[in-house]
């Protein structure tokens, strides 16, 4: 076991986890933050995307021990009912989700993308969301939502 102290959504946690525990598992199973979804568990689909020290990463491909001392932000940490994050508002407004399975990862990746880009066009959004799969929407409305959210972020 390894002792890990890190901040998740602004709150400090100290846990003892298996050496081979994945960040995605710890978030879901030890901290009950089940908004971070596990789609493929093979680093392909992006549904497990969270921010690690402000950068979008696939939580299924990070050991929890690697996150020691870092700040983790999950979908639960960006907004609340009544005061949603602009990206969440835009997804709602533009109907950018259907089943919603990919949505937490898509939103975390999209926020990372907008934070790191000066201004994005549709191509830039598509390229920037390369690491996230959606099996429902056909992506058009996701692109619209991200383009719209960047005005309000």
């Amino acid at each position: 076991m390894v002792d890990v102290t890190f901040s998740v959504n602004g709150k400090e946690h100290s846990l003892s986890v298996n050496d081979n525990a994945l960040l995605s598992e710890t978030l879901r199973e030890s901290l009950n933050l089940t908004g971070t979804h596990i789609g493929c568990d093979t680093s392909q689909c992006g549904s497990c995307t969270v921010h690690l020290d402000g950068k979008a990463v696939k939580a299924c491909t990070v050991l929890t021990a690697q996150a020691a001392g870092s700040e983790v932000t999950t979908i639960e940490g960006i907004g609340e009912p009544g005061s949603l994050h602009p990206m969440q508002e835009a997804f709602n407004e533009h109907h950018a989700l259907q089943c919603g399975f990919c949505t937490p990862g898509m939103i975390m990746a999209a926020i990372g993308l907008v934070n790191e880009s000066e201004s994005l066009d549709g191509d830039g959004v598509r390229k920037g969301l390369d690491g996230n799969f959606c099996r429902c929407t056909g992506y058009h409305n996701i692109v619209k939502a991200v383009l719209s959210a960047q005005q309000n972020m």
């Binding site: 081979n20 994945l22 995307t49 990463v57 696939k58 050991l63 690697q66 390369d130």
Partner: protein, 260 residues
């Protein structure tokens, strides 16, 4: 995943010590290859030694005649800060943004995947690999499929690229993974031309006939007639060996056109 002990090394010396004393140790950089490999139980290690806490392995630095990339520099850092355009372009085309936020140059070249991008940059720009004990020239570093000249506990500390007079990297990406079906780096540095090909064979290689032709005349037409022997090339559901050989010519000509 099989179980293992996790260690975070504070220095290169400590990392090496942990690796040497382990029966089966593995350095962990970005984990974008190692963690999936462990998950699939394709590797069974006793000790995972995380290099992520070693400050001296990070960063990208440019002096007058060369650019030095720390072994733990992530792809997105190179995509943002490299002063060689072709290298910036190459790094920004690896995988996806999440992979580029974690994956490192040291991990990529130590792994030497036949379809990885960085080996083409290292060989095509004639970089020098710095380790915790010696320097290795690009021509001696990549020794075969997933194989390098690195010793058992040796760590890539930095990769130093001489500044080229001109260079371009063009790849035909696998549409799902973005790995190179074929990728070609063409460069000219102090009159020396290099053409390095990744994705096509079992290991990155130099296309010497193309280098000679381009040395005589640096133009896409000089290499348009050169046929590439595909007998040892990779063949899979994505592309046959013959198609890969064809792509080598096309990617090389596109790279040359971009800089001539």
């Amino acid at each position: 995943m099989y179980s293992f002990r996790y260690h975070r090394a504070a220095s290169i010396e400590e990392a090496k010590e942990l690796h040497t004393t382990s029966d089966e140790g593995a350095y962990l950089a970005g984990g974008m290859t190692l963690i999936p490999t462990l998950k699939q139980r394709l590797a069974d290690v006793d000790d995972v030694i995380d290099l992520g806490g070693i400050e001296s392995l990070k960063g990208v630095m440019t002096s007058g005649t060369s650019m030095k990339v720390g072994g733990m520099a992530v792809h997105n850092e190179v995509a943002a800060n490299a002063t060689i355009d072709a290298l910036r372009h190459l790094a920004s085309g690896i995988g996806d943004p999440q992979v580029r936020n974690r994956g490192t140059i040291g991990g990529s070249i130590a792994n030497n995947d036949p379809a990885a991008d960085y080996p083409a940059a290292v060989l095509g720009l004639n970089a020098t690999i710095h380790t915790n004990g010696r320097t290795i020239g690009a021509d001696d570093f990549f020794t075969g499929m997933f194989d390098t000249a690195l010793g058992d506990s040796e760590i890539v500390t930095a990769v130093e690229f001489p500044m080229p007079s001109r260079a371009a990297y063009i790849k035909f990406p696998n549409p799902a993974s973005r790995y190179a079906v074929v990728g070609v780096m063409v460069s000219e540095t102090n009159g020396n031309v290099r053409v390095a090909v990744t994705g096509a064979g079992t290991c990155v290689f130099r296309a010497s006939a193309m280098e000679e032709a381009l040395t005589n005349e640096f133009a896409a037409e000089s290499i348009s007639g050169i046929s590439i022997d595909s007998s040892s090339f990779n063949s899979d559901i994505h592309a046959s060996a013959e198609y890969r050989a064809h792509l080598v010519g096309v990617m090389a000509q596109r790279a040359v056109s971009q800089i001539s």
